[in-house]
Symmetry: C2
Subunit: 400 residues, 2 copies
């Protein structure tokens, strides 16, 4: 595909107008540039060829990511800041849809789906070594809790685990069930610092193996049991039920089922906490993320989440929205990822490395512009009177 | 209506069994007693005559209150504790419904509705003097916040107002809109202690008059404007939108409309708070309360409340469930009410006095057994970054 330079530039200007004039600069393969002045721009997008420009116009949701992964789009400047500016909701966002005939969009989408097959890999199948290159030392792959924005990622992940434990009001000797435990950091933290016994489940055999190894290294294997199990297979009962970063993968159709698992396992005076990426209004996940990185993920609204609790004898005690803490967490991950990019490429190849870099920058951007949120929801049986009187204990720096 | 004593006693025992054997004692007009041993019972219910026993059996939800108001049921012991035991959810609660033929229940309900006309008076039409007999000195008719259970009602109401202000992160010079301001205590507190300007609306002319008088007494009339208006008539914009104890009267059909009012009035960096009685699972209000005390009231679930926020560009930042604080608040009100009962009767008559005593005791009981909850929901525009980094400032006793 070729485009005369003058036509390409006019096409680009029309595109930028349709996108609501984001404060970014775009440089074409012809050397022509358009968009915000360099001094004001949140980055410069370099477009490698005419076909890339046309694909971008037809289906920006999907193609921005795909073309970046293919190396036909590059961003000079901070990738996360660039995406934040591009994703920022605009009053005239409807223009884009009006500009593009529905038929063209459908066809572009169909192409996208065809390509998806080769790209789509399960999110956690990339391997422990890959995550170890850019997560914190405890391998916590969920939103941290920054007591101040200056805290390090390591501090924020420890503070998050402690924040969860305080909200759960854990007491020594209690039994905890953790649904979806990742590499086991929270289970180990609870056992070590709060004297509880933990049964933690995860469907990923590789993560469970890693977690068991950590438990042995730390001498906690008698108090923490990691089981390769789905949350629906959980049996027994507990004083605290906790799930951090699993609900995104559960799917709203299964929320009532998760509620039944909690109803069955939580003892009368037990407490629970679910930590999840969510939304302030219902909408599907961005298509690129859905198709290329996180198949079948669904960030729920609080209204959707209530389908876990409201059919059961469970009352929500506390909800906290930690959206800005995730912007910061993902920013730390992105920085570490970019610093380790050469090693990442050696490990997983260039395509996957670029996919993940785009995904992490997009995560920073999505939390920054608030198309996604982070909810921590604390609950108990509706009539549980053995819960702390106020939430002050969570913030009492003198405590435990 | 007459019943042979032996038959009445057998009937009573069957009733207690059907009700799931609550730990209460019942004494009939015949002198016969049944139920839990006196030492274990949460109170003794005295039934005045056979017709009362039959009415109670046919429609306990409505008749327990009505017969109490008529003086044909009396409770020896603490009325709130008695009702807590009676209302406590039981595994075999279905029995009651199975025991009573649906037709009989319908007819009993129809009778109830007939009587309702003479009794139903609007909740706030009873008059300021009436409320002054048993509310705190500031006339705050919503759930208090007890930093410890030992706090006085006055302390708890001031602490609640302060808790709300801290959650809203009010700053001097800001504009606040309050929807449903009761007797104006919160509006005055915000202006006096946080240096904000407040426009507060209320549909009750009598309350607005009282509130204006307070504003003048306190020299705050330049900073607090009380308007006799419905929340839908609110105009202008604000840095903080607050509504404490109004949503119960709004009705779920109007939640999207309330959301539009907030969307229209809240400035880009504004914060909001809604404080309401709610439920952990959807069900209508107890029929007696609905028909005799609180016509058209509806305590929403959190899921229902999300219809305010999710259609708009609003994100929930924080939810706190203060259920047990309301048990305690209503307990204080009941104690003051009972201490002032002679004056209450002189003011509003015996029937209304008994109606209210039963209502307040029932409120203690309903929060104690958790059929109702108390939610404080903090929100802002979804992408508002000018909110406090954590909730620690709410609990920082060194602050303001």
């Amino acid at each position: 595909m070729t485009l005369p330079p003058a036509l390409a530039l006019r096409f680009l200007r029309a595109l930028l107008a349709a996108a609501g004039e984001p404060q970014v600069r775009v440089r074409l393969w012809t050397g022509d540039e358009a968009g915000a002045p360099a001094a004001k721009a949140a980055g410069t997008l370099r477009v490698a060829d005419a076909a890339a420009l046309v694909r971008l116009a037809l289906d920006p949701d999907l193609q921005l990511g795909d073309l970046f992964v293919e190396g036909r789009l590059e961003v000079d400047g901070d990738l996360a800041e660039f995406l934040t500016e591009v994703l920022r909701p605009r009053a005239d966002v409807g223009l884009w849809k009006r500009l593009l005939p529905a038929g063209l969009r459908e066809r572009a989408l169909a192409t996208g789906l065809g390509q998806a097959t080769k790209n789509a890999r399960h999110h956690y199948d990339v391997g422990n070594d890959f995550y170890a290159l850019w997560l914190d030392e405890r391998m916590v792959y969920t939103c941290g809790y920054f007591e101040t924005p200056e805290a390090t990622l390591e501090q924020a992940q420890v503070a998050k685990m402690e924040h969860v434990c305080r909200k759960l009001d854990l007491r020594p000797g209690e039994d905890v069930i953790e649904a979806g435990c990742g590499w086991g950091a929270l289970a180990l933290h609870m056992a070590r610092h709060h004297g509880v016994r933990v049964r933690a489940c995860n469907v990923s055999g590789e993560q469970v193996a890693w977690a068991r190894e950590q438990a042995e290294k730390q001498g906690l294997q008698d108090r923490v049991t990691f089981v390769e199990q789905d949350y629906r297979e959980l049996s027994g009962t507990c004083d605290a039920f906790v799930s951090v970063g699993m609900l995104e993968h559960v799917g709203p159709d299964h929320y009532p089922e998760l509620g039944k698992v909690i109803q069955r396992t939580l003892r009368p005076h037990g407490r629970g906490l679910i930590h999840t990426i969510g939304r302030s209004r219902a909408q599907p996940l961005n298509r690129w993320t859905q198709q290329r990185v996180f198949p079948n993920a669904h960030p729920p609204t609080l209204g959707e989440m209530m389908q876990i609790f409201e059919p059961q004898d469970l009352a929500v005690l506390d909800v906290e929205n930690l959206r800005r803490h995730y912007t910061l967490t993902a920013r730390h991950w992105l920085e570490r990822f970019e610093a380790a990019e050469a090693r990442v490429e050696t490990l997983v190849g260039r395509e996957l490395a670029r996919t993940w870099r785009f995904y992490l920058a997009g995560t920073v951007a999505s939390f920054a512009v608030a198309t996604i949120q982070l909810y921590q929801v604390v609950f108990s049986r509706a009539g549980n009177d053995r819960i702390p009187w106020t939430r002050a204990h969570v913030y009492d720096r003198g405590a435990s």
